[in-house]
């Protein structure tokens, strides 16, 4: 709306702006991208069905998906433009010393009604950064000046102004005002935004294309694409949020899209159950989100502005205890949204939704919102959890536990999507752990690479399921490589990348996280100044082993052996395979964006460390994170361990099971007399308790045969019977309590008291009872009389 006033009014700000008219104009207008998707949603929702289908060439395609693809395609191109513009902007931005001073003419605090009421929508005065002449007129409160710097002027509470340079671009208008403060909605464009912009639009585009085949002929084709558009819009809105309220808004909106799409086939109760579970589990975390953001609002001097909160946190203007409590609250939100142990249980259930949704929402984008939130408000976590020390903090611990527990759970699933879901949980654990140990860049890098190979895996699984009409690997799959060569190849490539094998994308990002933990100096690397998180390194390595092993299992069960299902499976159509190929290309190559320094060319140039250069915020609103020094030793050790898991899995499946299959003359999925059947559960429990022993097992016997058995069963059991139970019980208890309160308290006591009062007054005479049959005026008279008596009492008392 008011955005439209934009650039032409910039001249109020006294320095030249190369963003204003040239190549970089897109950076000020990135808000157009979510807007396009929102419009696409509205058009598809209201007109999608009535538009019917559109003829393109010889083929008829439904209008809804065509609109969606056109919209998201446009957005992808705009994102590419934004990316290129950002690189240009970033390269021309002077490093830390650039402090273009912008004279700040207005009052940093809120002004009086008389001053701003007319310009209310134009001005940005929440005691937060203001980027314009305070007289009100300029709407564009961000300007990219000098060599492209946005100067951030903050009016401190005690009156003095501090000036910082920030590479970020901010723009917005007043969303609401309260108590004389005005709160802005708008965009905050910096490295992480650009990164996510690319990931979200690319994967959304591929998923859109893929879906035209996958949900072809679905009973709610139009709604499906409408909600894909709404989700994309909300996610894009989320990544460019400049205020915490805006962030909460987008956060909930993506949640609602997730709800709608998980429950896409709501006729069947399990689907709507899964949708409810997802929404409600997330609501539990959202309590933390709301409270955390409220604490930050007050701590930062009544502002929702993310940059201000960050700056104050970095500058130490917010007490560490306050930050700690806020960070803990926000961590709860991360745990639910990003599927961290113990709030992850909704994520596997969410696989009830259509597979493209699982790829887009529950693997590549929405579930990383929690990770993104930590990255956005990193100073809060960095200072609150004292990440630069080496004491173990909530983030690192939760992440590390999630890496391992999530990975172990993946072993016992027969449903191919559930394996991938637990794998996602585990990989999200890596990202959270990385942020917890201070490896900010590594976390975002892993988010980036993970989006491609995990989306590729989900879409690959969908391709197989599309062909065999089932997700059950043991019953309905097997030997699929013969029928679906393209799907097979892309799936294997993405799996290798997920497993972190050199030189695939997953290797680089996982390695950077492991180095970032700074554990064990003996590997020669260092986590920069971020301390030494030995435990996190161990957990990360264990996670790496698990990942390769469970993916080997999936590949064997799905693509090897003999076909165990029914019918005649065949390769999927081009609209399914082409996205797979594109994603597998990224799964191979995306890691090259962030080669460690000294690798290959031996100097800092070219592609090396470009990722960090473009992605890391450079401003006073970002904590002094340390950068890890890579270690060949660690990379080699991690690779060996990472290959050990799959190696054992390969031995187990491709030798033992395969051999036994030949003996028995049918395609087996496991050894009939394997560890599972020989080792009693009790022993497993003991194993689990004696953690050291458990670790020994993990390294020796293990992974494929052993972890697959008792330990994972135990984890699965605790997952289903302990954690899920708590949530179910909480739900049931609430209902029981509700029933109890209602039947035992509300009805007999509270209500009874009222009825009792009525009955007591009926003792005054039968007349009253008559009045209940219609003589209202009499009843009213009594009431007035009673009231008069009470009134008299009150007057006398006074």
């Amino acid at each position: 709306m008011k955005f439209l006033l934009a650039a032409s009014e910039v001249p109020e700000v006294s320095f030249t702006s190369d963003v204003g008219g040239g190549f970089n104009i897109i950076l000020e207008y990135v808000w157009v991208i979510p807007l396009i998707m929102a419009l696409s949603f509205a058009v598809i929702l209201f007109f999608g069905k009535s538009l019917g289908s559109i003829k393109i060439g010889d083929s008829e395609t439904p209008a809804s998906s065509t609109i969606g693809i056109a919209a998201v395609g446009t957005c992808f191109l705009l994102s590419l433009w934004a990316g290129a513009a950002w690189i240009d902007h970033r390269d021309n931005f002077p490093e830390a010393d650039a402090t273009s001073v912008l004279e700040h003419g207005g009052d940093g605090e809120h002004s009086d009604d008389a001053e701003h009421s007319d310009e209310a929508e134009h001005s940005d005065e929440e005691g937060a950064p203001a980027y314009f002449d305070g007289d009100g007129a300029p709407l564009v409160d961000a300007s990219v000046g000098g060599a492209g710097a946005a100067a951030l002027v903050e009016a401190g509470e005690d009156g003095h102004s501090e000036v910082h340079a920030s590479v970020a671009i901010l723009k917005g208008f007043t969303w609401f005002q309260s108590g004389g403060h005005e709160f802005t909605v708008g965009i905050l464009v910096d490295g992480p935004t650009i990164l996510m912009l690319f990931v979200v639009t690319l994967i959304s585009l591929l998923v859109h294309i893929y879906s035209t085949d996958y949900v072809h002929g679905d009973r709610r084709y139009t709604h499906f694409f409408a909600f894909l558009s709404l989700f994309t819009a909300s996610m894009l809105f989320l990544i460019m949020s400049r205020s915490t309220v805006q962030f909460i808004t987008a956060w909930e909106l993506v949640g609602v899209c997730s709800f709608a799409l998980i429950g896409h086939w709501w006729e069947e109760k399990p689907n709507s159950d899964a949708a409810l579970k997802a929404f409600l589990t997330n609501r539990v975390g959202d309590m933390g989100l709301l409270i955390g953001m409220i604490i930050l609002y007050f701590a930062a001097g009544r502002t929702f502005d993310i940059m201000t909160i960050n700056e104050m946190a970095v500058a130490g203007e917010i007490p560490r205890n306050t930050l700690l409590i806020a960070a803990l609250c926000l961590t709860a939100a991360v745990m639910s949204k990003s599927g961290q142990f113990i709030l992850h249980t909704w994520l596997p259930d969410a696989m009830a939704g259509p597979t493209p949704v699982s790829a887009l929402i529950h693997a590549a984008t929405m579930v990383v919102a929690g990770v993104y939130m930590i990255a956005r408000l990193y100073p809060v976590f960095f200072e609150g959890f004292a990440i630069s020390g080496s004491s173990i903090n909530a983030l690192a611990l939760i992440g590390a536990i999630t890496v391992v527990f999530g990975g172990m759970l993946a072993f016992v699933q027969d449903d191919i999507k559930k394996v991938l879901a637990y794998s996602t949980v585990s990989q999200l654990g890596y990202m959270v752990m990385a942020l917890g140990v201070g490896a900010w860049t590594a976390a975002l890098f892993h988010l980036f690479t993970h989006a491609f190979f995990k989306a590729g895996l989900f879409l690959g699984a969908g391709s197989v399921a599309h062909s065999v009409h089932s997700f059950d690997m043991k019953k309905d799959m097997g030997g699929m490589r013969k029928f679906m060569p393209t799907t097979f190849k892309t799936f294997v490539i993405c799996s290798i990348s997920l497993a972190g094998v050199f030189p695939f994308a997953g290797f680089w990002s996982k390695d950077e996280i492991l180095v970032g933990t700074g554990g064990w100096g003996l590997f020669g690397g260092s986590g920069g100044s971020n301390g030494a998180y030995t435990l996190m390194l161990v957990m990360g390595l264990v996670g790496a082993m698990l990942t390769g092993a469970y993916m080997t299992r999936v590949i064997y069960l799905t693509f090897f052996g003999e076909f165990r299902g029914h019918g005649h499976p065949h390769e999927s159509g081009k609209r399914i395979t082409i996205p797979l190929v594109i994603l597998s290309v990224f799964a191979v190559g995306a890691g090259l964006l962030n080669l460690p320094p000294g690798f290959i060319t031996g100097e800092e140039a070219g592609w090396q460390e470009r990722f960090g250069h473009f992605i890391e915020p450079q401003s006073a609103a970002f904590p002094p994170i340390g950068h890890a020094t890579p270690s060949y030793t660690l990379a080699i050790v991690a690779s060996i361990l990472g290959l050990l898991g799959p190696a054992i899995a390969v031995f187990y499946y491709f030798n033992r099971v395969e051999a036994r299959s030949k003996v028995e003359g049918r395609s087996l999925t496991e050894l009939p007399d394997g560890l599972t059947s020989r080792v009693p559960i009790a022993k497993a429990g003991h194993t689990l308790l004696a953690e050291k022993y458990y670790l020994d097992h993990l390294y020796t016997d293990v992974i494929a045969g052993g972890t697959k058995g008792p330990v994972a069963d135990m984890a699965d059991w605790s997952n289903k019977h302990l954690i899920d139970n708590v949530i179910d019980t909480a739900g049931r208890t609430a209902v029981t309590a509700g029933q109890f309160v209602y039947t035992k308290i509300d009805q007999p006591l509270v209500d009874g008291a009222v009825d009792g009062a009525g009955k007591a007054s009926s003792a005054f005479g039968d007349e009253l009872r008559k009045s209940q049959t219609g003589k209202v005026q009499q009843y009213a008279a009594y009431l007035f009389a009673a009231a008069a008596v009470l009134a008299g009492v009150l007057i006398i008392v006074i």
Partner: protein, 537 residues
């Protein structure tokens, strides 16, 4: 703003009543057209009023009329509108014609559109009058005027248990009103002007200027307590809420909509307009208790919802929870909280009004609202099902829709209540209220799952009565749905209007950071604990 506007919007419906009385009951179309025409005319004048309203001075009363009325008791006819009452008046003007349109084709049994519409017109006068009145007696009269039509609406057109429900509604509210009147009278006798002379006035402006200065602490608390009961019952606050589910369940659809959309707000409006501005010190002392009842209401209402088996009753219970958020915002006595409360009133009016409309339409098609017999609404009446889903999302406070802006800022305000109120207490309330949002999602989604998802039960699978929304319903609902989105997407429409008025209504001592911040000539009593702050800082 021209003087005639406020009297016009208040009394034009009453003029229509006079005309309708003269016509026989069987001239149904005449009555329908008169009522609709009148309500649309009032709405048109309302739009004109909004255009004439000076939003730069939204903190001040506008369109003031101050005439002699009842000299003998010192009561004058004073009306005026400011940023707080404007949105509520507009909401009223919107809801009334929509209700008339909705009932156009199907008046509830025993039919009789003449009487039904006359009652609605009287209700409109009462509701608008309450929001514009600036004299306590005038306010009281309008406040009571509302009571009778609603009583008859429930008692005549209601469900099987209507007699019980209507009486309970009447009894409860009247009880509160009596205490409220006593409180008003005490103010009349005790208020003083700046020179220390007895004020002897019901003029809200004069009483607000007085602000309870020099009143004994105990007296102030008692008077506030009287108003607390009077307004609190209307809200309704726990534990005075039990009339509400009965009244809602038994009332005809339109009655429920008006009850939820406007009548409940008379109570909360009373706090914002009368009780807090006149007696800020007593408000500070009462605040922890009001807040306590508010959060109990939030949790208790939610638990009540979880136990319901009847869709309409569930929605009614959800009002208890939602009004709990409004009361929590009010109890903080901060501008932020009260802005949120006013937003919450409007949002609740739109959203819960919509939910009652849908419940009414479901009842009309299925002849039952028993949740376990329903199901598959999305299959049989997809558009209605989606609208139900939309309203459920709005009601559980989804950001981007109106409900959020009443809820989140109220929770936020509880983090730091006004001077003199215990922060620790309110932070506990904040966490409890946040828990309430989880429960709200629970009962609302559960409702949605059981009524809209799944497949229709055998009982109704082939029922020809079950059809999607008709044109009357679309016309009646579209404005509400649109406003839920518009206010959710751009909340400043409302916040900007209310903010100045809310700030003006609050005593400076409530928000001042130190004694130095106070305006000239204002001193604060020890209740506000400002001196302690000064000593500490």
């Amino acid at each position: 703003m021209p003087d005639w506007i406020l009297p016009a919007i208040t009394f034009v419906p009453l003029a229509a009543v006079a005309v309708m009385m003269l016509m026989p009951a069987d001239a149904e179309s005449f009555h329908k057209l008169t009522a609709l025409g009148t309500s649309l005319f009032v709405a048109a004048v309302g739009v004109y009023m909004a255009l004439e309203f000076d939003f730069d001075r939204s903190g001040e009363l506008q369109g003031v009329v101050d005439e002699r009325w009842i000299d003998i008791i010192g009561s004058r006819f004073i009306v005026g509108v400011d940023g707080i009452s404007l949105p509520l008046i507009l909401l009223t003007m919107l809801v009334v014609p929509l209700c008339i349109i909705y009932s156009w084709e199907h008046f509830p049994e025993p039919h009789n559109p003449k009487a039904f519409l006359i009652l609605i017109m009287i209700l409109e006068t009462g509701m608008i009058g309450t929001f514009v009145a600036q004299d306590l007696i005038l306010f009281f009269v309008f406040f009571e005027v509302v009571l009778l039509p609603m009583f008859f609406m429930i008692a005549v057109w209601g469900g099987p248990d209507r007699k019980y429900a209507s009486l309970k509604f009447f009894l409860y509210t009247l009880f509160g009103s009596a205490l409220m009147l006593v409180a008003f009278l005490s103010l009349f006798f005790l208020a003083e002007d700046s020179a220390g002379e007895a004020l002897r006035s019901f003029d809200l402006r004069a009483l607000t200027a007085w602000g309870g200065a020099g009143l004994a602490r105990g007296t102030g608390l008692l008077i506030f307590g009287g108003m607390l009961l009077g307004f609190g019952i209307k809200v309704p606050m726990f534990p005075f809420h039990t009339w509400l589910p009965d009244a809602h369940t038994q009332a005809p659809t339109v009655g429920s909509v008006i009850l939820a959309a406007v009548l409940l707000k008379l109570g909360t409006y009373g706090f914002v307009r009368i009780a807090i501005p006149i007696l800020p010190e007593a408000a500070v002392e009462w605040a922890p208790w009001i807040g306590l009842l508010a959060v109990i209401g939030i949790i208790y209402g939610a638990l009540g919802c979880l136990a319901q088996t009847d869709m309409k009753r569930l929605i009614a219970f959800s009002s208890v929870a939602h009004m709990g958020f409004v009361m929590l915002g009010i109890a903080t006595l901060t501008d932020f909280g009260i802005n949120a409360a006013v937003f919450g009133m409007v949002a609740h009016g739109l959203i819960t009004g919509m939910l009652f409309f849908i419940a009414g339409s479901v009842k009309e098609r299925y002849h039952t609202l028993e949740i376990k017999r329903l199901g598959g609404l999305l299959v049989q009446a997809p558009r209605m099902g989606w609208m139900l889903g939309f309203c459920v999302m709005a009601s559980l406070g989804l950001p981007g829709l109106a409900g959020f802006w009443g809820e989140f800022p109220a929770i936020l305000a509880a983090y730091q209540p006004a001077n003199g109120i215990s922060e620790v207490t309110f932070r506990v309330y904040m966490v409890i209220a946040a828990l309430g949002t989880v429960l709200a999602a629970g009962y609302l989604l559960w409702l949605l799952q059981r009524t809209a998802f799944g497949t229709p039960s055998e009982e109704f699978a082939d029922d020809p009565h079950v059809h999607d929304a008709n044109n009357f319903e679309y016309v009646a609902w579209a404005p509400l749905l649109a406003l839920i989105v518009v206010l959710g997407v751009y909340p400043n429409l409302l916040f900007e209007t209310t903010d100045d008025a809310v700030q003006n209504s609050l005593h400076p001592c409530l928000s001042a950071e130190s004694v130095e911040d106070l305006p000239e000539g204002v001193t604060c009593s020890s209740v506000f604990e400002l001196d302690d702050d000064l000593a500490g800082g």
